[in-house]
Symmetry: C2
Subunit: 203 residues, 2 copies
């Protein structure tokens, strides 16, 4: 956690530091990211940085917390409160939608997340509990859908939860690296959900 001095800072300076950090971590892996680049861009002295943070990792963890917070803002809060009122595929659609909106509006945070995904050690240190929560959430969703008779009883819930997570990544990836797939977001989400629902086999 950043030191108190950091939270005592005038808002604009604190924000400059956060902005600079997001820029740097979005472009480079944790190890490659340079404290110097951050202090330069934020126009603070190197020494000041260490008044605010224990070290580079301390700042990084803080950025991840910010990203997680922002991400949560994007999921439909009404939906989360009144899950019973939504069907499984409606819920899934809302979730994917929020993921896409988030990626569109915070591409740098998505980039940081992607990076983190590939650094196992850091990932578990920084993100472990969040990740588990996310899997558990999908599993609960699937179990509920199954109980309500919306889902094929033959599917394996654990496996399906991983696949739904993967689909979410795939979706974010399409939107994030724009131009790769050339459809508007809604159309992508709908086509994707169609495949999740029905598979690709002719019937």
């Amino acid at each position: 956690m950043p030191k108190d001095t950091f939270f005592n800072l005038p808002d604009d300076k604190r924000e400059r530091i956060i902005e600079a950090a997001i820029d740097e971590f979005a472009q480079r892996s944790f190890h490659d990211a340079r404290v110097t680049a951050i202090t330069n861009q934020a126009e603070i002295a190197k020494g000041s940085f260490y008044q605010y943070f224990e070290d580079k990792k301390d700042l990084f963890k803080h950025i991840i917390e910010i990203a997680v917070g922002k991400k949560i803002e994007y999921v439909n809060q009404d939906m989360m409160q009144n899950m019973q009122d939504y069907g499984f595929f409606q819920l899934l659609r809302e979730l994917y939608l929020s993921g896409v909106r988030f990626a569109k509006e915070h591409p740098r945070l998505v980039a940081i997340g992607m990076q983190l995904l590939s650094n196992q050690e850091l990932y578990y240190e920084v993100f472990g509990t969040h990740a588990e929560k996310s899997y558990a959430f999908y599993e609960d969703l699937l179990r509920k859908g199954m109980a309500d008779g919306e889902l094929d009883p033959a599917i394996d819930i654990v496996l399906a939860s991983r696949l739904l997570t993967m689909f979410n990544y795939a979706l974010v990836d399409f939107v994030y690296e724009d131009g790769k797939v050339d459809l508007d977001d809604m159309a992508i989400i709908d086509k994707m959900l169609y495949i999740v629902e029905n598979g690709i086999k002719r019937r």
Copy 2:
């Protein structure tokens, strides 16, 4: 490309270097990987390394070429030769199967590939053409399946090709990080294909 001196080396020394490099690159990202660790493990002098390779990237590219070559060995060659004789889902099953067998037997190469996936710049420099080939291959497969009437005509081929690639990653990931999902490989592949074919909706 490594220098001639490298290819002139006695087999056992050359292999020691490759082994050490695979070990190091499997554990650390390209940037984090240390030439020193490789020369130490291979028991060659630091200077010798630069007799064999232009630089660290030169070796890395070579390792990727080796991995790609090994990966290709694992796909059923009979299948590749006689595609017409296989149905779409049979072909897909064979492909996934080869992916899983490869991951089981060469976990370090898989780890290197995973790492690479997350370094856009390096990825395109080292792997770009391979990746495009892989997408194109799935697209062709889907087009053929569509033409043969095995697939739902409503699905978007480009999107589906990305999803099939994602499924492949998911599969490798399950097998690779063993214990995460607790089913034997065949069962995972079959359950996964079931979802690809039919979706998860109750019918």
